[in-house]
C-alpha cells in the first residue's frame, strides 16, 4: 500500500506567541518547533495500516529547510521516507494543499492521513482540501477507523455531543483526532535509523495566496477581575454578582 502522512512543523503548545516585524505572522525567535500533536495520531495510523497490509509510509511536509527536523521525527516513529516540498514563502492552506496534491498526483496514493488541525493556523482544512484536490473521499476528525481488505472504510468521527459513523472506500484522506490510537514513542534505534532514511526535495509550482493576511494582532488582554472572597462564605456574593452585574444567570 502507498501510504502518505502529511505532517506540519508547528510551535510548541507552551509558546508565548509574539507578533513579528511584518505584523502578519509570529516572531519565530526563541520558538521551539514540534511535530504537530494531531499529526502523531496520523503517523501512527499510517504505520498501523502498513503493519496490517504491507507497503510503505511516506511523510510529506511543506515549508522551509527547518521542517526537515519534523520529517525526521516522523521517520523516527517508523515511517520509511519523506517528501519535503521546499518553500520559504508562507503559503495559505489552499496553497499548501495544492503543493501536496502536485507532489502526490503521480504516486498512486492508497491512503493519505493528516492531523485534524495544525495547532498554528487551526484551520481544520487539509483533509477536505486534499480530498477534493486529489478527487478522492475524505473523512475528518476520525476517532475510530477500520479498513477492510477490499478497501471499504468504516470510521467514526467526532460530532457535537457524540459521534457519526461514516463509510467510504480507499483511496481516501483521513484526518486523525486524539483517541484514534496511542502514538508510539520513537526509540533510540528509530532515531538513529531516521538519519539515514531518504527525504526527497520537491519544488512546488508558483502560487499566489488566495487568503491574504492583512494583519496579526494579540487578542485584547482581559483585565484580571476581582477576587470575590475566600472559601464557601464567598458564594453568596458570587451568585449575586453573576445575576446583577454580569447578568449571566
Amino acid at each position: 500500500m502507498n501510504i502518505f502522512v502529511c505532517v506540519s512543523h508547528v510551535p510548541d503548545t507552551t509558546t508565548k506567541v509574539q507578533v513579528g516585524g511584518s505584523g502578519k505572522e509570529i516572531d519565530p525567535s526563541g520558538v521551539t518547533y514540534i511535530l504537530n500533536p494531531y499529526d502523531e495520531y496520523a503517523v501512527e495510523a499510517g504505520l498501523q495500516l502498513k503493519e496490517a497490509r504491507g507497503g510503505d509510509v511516506t511523510l510529506v511536509c511543506v515549508g522551509p529547510e527547518a521542517v526537515k527536523e519534523t520529517i525526521r521525527k516522523g521517520l523516527a516513529m517508523g515511517a520509511d521516507k519523506g517528501i519535503h516540498v521546499v518553500t520559504d514563502a508562507p503559503r495559505d492552506s489552499f496553497g499548501t494543499a495544492r503543493a501536496i496534491t502536485d507532489a502526490l498526483k503521480d504516486r498512486a496514493a492508497d491512503a493519505v492521513f493528516v492531523g485534524r488541525q495544525s495547532i498554528d493556523y487551526d484551520g481544520w482544512q487539509m483533509c477536505g482540501l486534499l480530498g477534493e484536490m486529489l478527487g478522492i473521499p475524505s473523512i475528518s476528525v476520525v476517532t475510530k477507523l477500520d479498513i477492510a481488505e477490499d478497501g471499504t472504510i468504516s470510521a467514526e468521527r467526532d460530532i457535537e455531543g457524540g459521534s457519526e459513523t461514516v463509510t467510504t472506500k480507499l483511496p481516501a484522506v483521513i484526518s486523525a483526532q486524539k483517541g484514534l490510537n496511542d502514538p508510539r514513542y520513537p526509540k533510540l534505534q528509530g532515531i538513529m535509523a531516521a538519519k539515514r532514511k531518504p527525504i526527497e526535495d520537491v519544488a512546488p509550482a508558483p502560487y499566489e495566496n488566495r487568503v491574504e493576511v492583512i494583519e496579526m494582532t494579540k487578542p485584547a488582554i482581559k483585565e484580571a477581575g476581582r477576587i470575590v472572597g475566600e472559601g464557601p462564605a464567598a458564594v453568596k456574593d458570587l451568585v449575586r454578582l453573576l445575576h446583577e452585574e454580569a447578568k449571566v444567570i
Binding site: I26, Q125, S138, K178, E215, G225, I227, G231, A246, V248
Partner: protein, 323 residues
C-alpha cells in the same frame, strides 16, 4: 449579489449556530447591498420559513431523503449547484463538525478559498474581511479572500442571533442533480449521548481540573453543571489521566469554547487551557492557590478549596433558581 448561508439542522431542529450565521451574513449583506439566501437540507418547510426571522429573504429547501444523513461530496455538489443557480459568490456556514468538514471541499469545488472559524466579519472598502483566532487564540489574524468565490465558516456561539423578527423567508424547493457516485462517502448513523450538552455548543460550562484529585470527585462538577444547565468540560490533565473523555477537553489540543459563563474549578490555568476558554464572556475561577494563572483571566474568583466551595455554590444556586 447574493450571500448564501448553509443552515444546519439535526432531527428537524435548526441549530442555533445557523441563526447566528444568517444574522451575521445579513449584516454583511446590508453593507454590500446584497441579499441573503439560506439553504436547508432536510427538516421541513416551517423550519425553512423560520430562517426569514434572522434575515434570509429566501430559503432554498432541499428535501432529498438521501441527504438526511451527511454525505460530504453530495452536500458539496448540491451547494455548488445552488450557488450557480442563485449567482452567489459568497457562502457562509457555521463552523460546526459538519461545517468544518464541508467548507474546505466546497472551497476547492468552486475554485475559491476558505476563511475558517471566523469570529468577526465586516466590510472594508467593499470587501469582506474576517478575523479569526490562530495559535489557539494566542493571536488573531485579519484576512480577506482574494478569489472571487469565497467561503467563510463562522465559529458557533460568537455571533449573536438575536430574537427572530417574525418575518418568513420565501421557500423554494430544489432537487439537486446527484448520482450514486456522490454517496460513496456517507454517514450511516450517529450516536448522541442523550440529554448531554456538547461543550462546544454550550452557553454555560463547568470545568474541572486536577484540583479534584480523582475521578471519584467528578460528581461535584456534574452537580454544579446540572444546577446551571451547563455542559461539563475538563482540563488536559484530567483527560490525559483518563478521568474524562477527550470530547470534554477544553484548550489548545481540545475544544475552543466561548460560552456566556465558564466556571473553572480546580484548574490552575496552563497557557494551553487559557487559550481555549479565555474568550468566554464571563469567567469564574475557584482555586485554592491565589496565584494560579486562571485568576488572571477570571472576572470573578473565589480562593478556596473546591471540595468546600463547589458544593456551597451548588446549594446557593439551587436556592437562587428555586430548585
Amino acid at each position: 449579489m447574493t450571500i448564501l448561508v448553509l443552515a444546519e439542522q439535526r432531527d428537524g431542529k435548526v441549530k442555533k449556530a445557523s441563526y447566528e450565521a444568517i444574522k451575521a451574513a445579513s449584516a454583511v449583506a446590508t453593507q454590500l447591498n446584497a441579499t441573503v439566501t439560506a439553504v436547508l437540507f432536510g427538516a421541513d418547510e416551517a423550519a425553512a420559513k423560520s430562517l426569514g426571522g434572522y434575515g434570509a429573504a429566501k430559503t432554498v429547501f432541499v428535501a432529498d431523503e438521501r441527504l438526511h444523513f451527511y454525505a460530504n461530496s453530495a452536500y458539496v455538489k448540491s451547494v455548488a449547484q445552488i450557488m450557480e443557480k442563485e449567482a452567489a459568490d459568497v457562502v457562509m456556514l457555521p463552523a460546526t463538525s459538519l461545517g468544518k468538514d464541508l467548507a474546505p471541499r466546497l472551497a476547492v469545488r468552486i475554485d475559491g478559498a476558505l476563511a475558517p472559524d471566523v469570529t468577526s466579519i465586516a466590510v472594508e472598502d467593499g470587501a469582506i474581511v474576517a478575523q479569526r483566532p490562530v495559535y489557539a487564540g494566542k493571536s488573531v489574524i485579519k484576512v480577506k479572500i482574494n478569489s472571487a468565490k469565497q467561503v467563510f465558516s463562522l465559529r458557533p456561539n460568537v455571533f449573536s442571533a438575536g430574537e427572530a423578527s417574525g418575518t418568513e423567508a420565501v421557500v423554494e424547493n430544489f432537487a439537486p442533480a446527484l448520482d450514486d457516485a456522490d454517496f460513496v462517502t456517507k454517514a450511516t448513523g450517529t450516536t448522541i449521548a442523550s440529554g448531554k450538552i456538547d461543550v462546544a455548543e454550550a452557553n454555560v460550562i463547568v470545568s474541572g481540573g486536577r484540583g479534584l484529585q480523582g475521578p471519584e470527585h467528578w460528581p461535584l462538577i456534574q452537580g454544579l453543571a446540572d444546577t446551571l444547565g451547563a455542559a461539563t468540560g475538563a482540563s488536559r490533565a484530567v483527560v490525559d489521566a483518563g478521568w474524562r473523555p477527550h470530547a470534554e477537553q477544553v484548550g489548545q489540543t481540545g475544544k475552543t469554547v466561548s460560552p456566556n459563563l465558564y466556571v473553572a474549578c480546580g484548574i490552575s490555568g496552563a497557557i494551553q487551557h487559557l487559550a481555549g476558554m479565555s474568550s468566554s464572556k464571563c469567567i469564574v475561577a475557584i482555586n485554592k492557590d491565589k496565584d494560579a494563572p486562571i485568576f488572571q483571566v477570571a472576572d470573578y474568583g473565589i480562593v478556596g478549596d473546591v471540595f468546600e466551595v463547589v458544593p456551597a455554590l451548588t446549594e446557593e444556586l439551587k436556592s437562587f433558581f428555586g430548585k
